[in-house]
Amino acid sequence: MKLGSFLLRRFLLSIFVIIGLSIVIFVIARVVPGDPARMALGPRAPEEVVQTLRKEMYLDKPLPEQYFYWIKGVVRGDFGHSLVSKRLVLDDIKEYFPATMELAIFAGILMVFFAILLGVLAAQYKDTWVDNLIRIASYFGVAIPAFVVAIVFMLVFGYYWPILPVLGRLSPGITSPRTITGLLTLDSLIEGNFPAFWDALKHMILPAVALSLGGLFQEARITRSSMVDNMHKDFLAAERGYGIPEKTVMSKYLLKPSLISTVSIMGLDFASLLSNAFLVELIFNWPGISRYGINAMLHKDLDAISAVIVVFGVVFMVTNIIVDVIVALLDPRIRLSTARDV
């Protein structure tokens, strides 16, 4: 299957799934006990005002009709109003989404880089102390939740050893760069504002490490085991036979096919990384969409919750498609049509 038609097919399927997701989240938001209009206005609002808002929110209409009005708005970017911030949900998302993406991308890069590095080291020094150390670390890496790592970082770096900032995205006193992409590090680089870049980068380190640890060790182990599996394949013997230097054989011909399984699991790891962001952003007071989402959840801010879920649904669709394309590029044997469905 050609890349173009694969992308088109996946895109169409994804739209179906996103619509389904929006129905599910809408139904859950509407069938829960409690009147959304009453919740929006508070317990002391007069009954007439509540009734007017009910009309405005189409709460007097049957559920399918309510959904229709809601999704019509969503398609046009109107997610409704947030009860907590008293603003348009869309404005909130525009403000908070880039912060989460910046953190997640940075954490993802850390995760992949160190996973491959450790995986290669473990495979190269198989059955030595290096391998054992990485294996033991991986057991703990999987068993220590990201929010526990974050809390420990708070304790260590927030109080005892303050070499890295633990709260927010920028230190007070640093001028924030003009918003271009919304990613502080990128914006400050574009502007040439290096103090801001350095400061923003330092703020990302602790939350990003907390987010990446779980997936990092899992991927390192997978990289190691598939490298070990591939090490004695015939094609490597053939390459060595041609007299290709061992270094090139290892880095070019062994690593590439071994990364296929690592990349395949990357989509799932990125998903768990982003869901852990819901707790980690809260701890580090990172002004991202996950912290916004958790606050919306704790305040039963239904429009904001629905919007956050839909936004994350779209993010995961895109991630999965990217992962499938990378896998297909790494492994010419895999046709895109047989790649994981949605």
């Binding site: 829960v32 703990f140 939740p145 526990v148 809390i151 708070m154 819901f278 704790l298």
Partner: protein
């Protein structure tokens, strides 16, 4: 990490000794099993083995509040003077209960739907079930579980519901793949030719051959469910105070950092302990059931 083929028969009970040999070949699996047994036994006998069982509730003793870990209070006391060690042991109860209830509901449901979709592959049942599954798999379980738990009243029961709702699709997808490949095996075709009805084929021919992957996944999932419960209670959407929950104790204790670090560190270590145990044991069970692994 190849995809494991279904074992020809689920041999666990018939070959207990051999299974134990395969399981115990990796010493870490045995360590995991021991941790799990310690957690289970201490949770069951919590009222008798904890030094202060009454501290697992609305107990207040300000005279002994915020005490350092000592022989009297192994993990110190919290801001209300309750013994943190006792509360951790009691919190194990809900963590285990959560895993049992969630997997007890989600696994049969997911398995049943997966079997149906796999057996009727290409028909409308397949389309409907698998497209709904796709929707639930579109967002990671933690995010949707948080949303569902938040919209309901936050308590233990509702966090169980929230996690169960998010958990069945993984089993549906697993069974869909396994069932749709098994249904083309000769023994299934033979059963069809002899006139066996669909019920017999699905539950007597296909299901027994899917048990290995199911048990493997269950073994690995216990830890994940407990982690999810801890995450929900960490943000206040799980078990409500004064009943202790591991995540809730970590986040409550975090407010008293750094002076009273033990309020948050010991519950956090308890989470790591329980997850480590279930993960190591799960790995062992996987290696034991996967016959395809050399």
């Amino acid at each position: 990490m190849g995809v494991s083929l279904p074992t020809p028969k689920f041999m666990f009970w018939k070959n207990l000794g051999r299974s134990w040999y395969k399981f115990s070949r990796n010493r870490l699996s045995v360590v995991g099993l021991v941790i799990v047994l310690v957690v289970i036994v201490s949770a069951i006998f919590a009222p008798w083995i904890t030094p202060y069982p009454e501290h697992a509730g609305p107990f207040v003793d300000f005279a002994n509040a915020e005490l350092r870990p000592s022989l009297r209070y192994l993990c110190g006391t919290d801001n209300m003077g309750r013994d943190i060690f006792s509360r951790i042991i009691f919190a194990f109860q809900d963590a285990l209960l959560m895993a049992i209830v969630v997997l007890g509901l989600a696994v049969p449901l997911g398995v049943l739907l997966g079997l149906l979709a796999g057996y009727f592959q290409g028909r409308w049942a397949d389309t409907i079930i698998m497209r709904i599954t796709d929707i639930f798999l579109a967002v990671p379980p933690l995010i949707l579980a948080l949303a569902v738990a938040a919209m309901l009243k936050p308590n233990l029961m509702n966090s169980m519901i929230a996690i169960t709702v998010m958990w069945w699709p993984w089993y549906t997808r697993l069974l869909y793949g396994t069932a749709s490949s098994i249904k083309n095996e000769y023994f299934v075709i033979a059963a069809e030719l002899t006139g066996a009805n669909k019920f017999h084929i699905i539950f007597r021919e296909i299901l027994p051959n899917c048990l290995s992957p199911i048990f493997t996944k269950v073994a690995l999932d216990v830890g994940w469910v407990i982690l999810l419960e801890a995450s929900l209670s960490f943000v206040g959407l799980g078990q409500q105070p004064p009943t202790p929950a591991l995540g809730q104790m970590v986040s409550d204790g975090a407010r008293y950092m750094p002076t009273y670090w033990w309020m948050t560190i010991f519950p956090a270590l308890a989470i790591v302990f329980i997850l480590l145990g279930f993960n190591l044991m799960g790995d062992g069970i996987r290696d034991m059931l996967e016959t395809s692994r050399g």
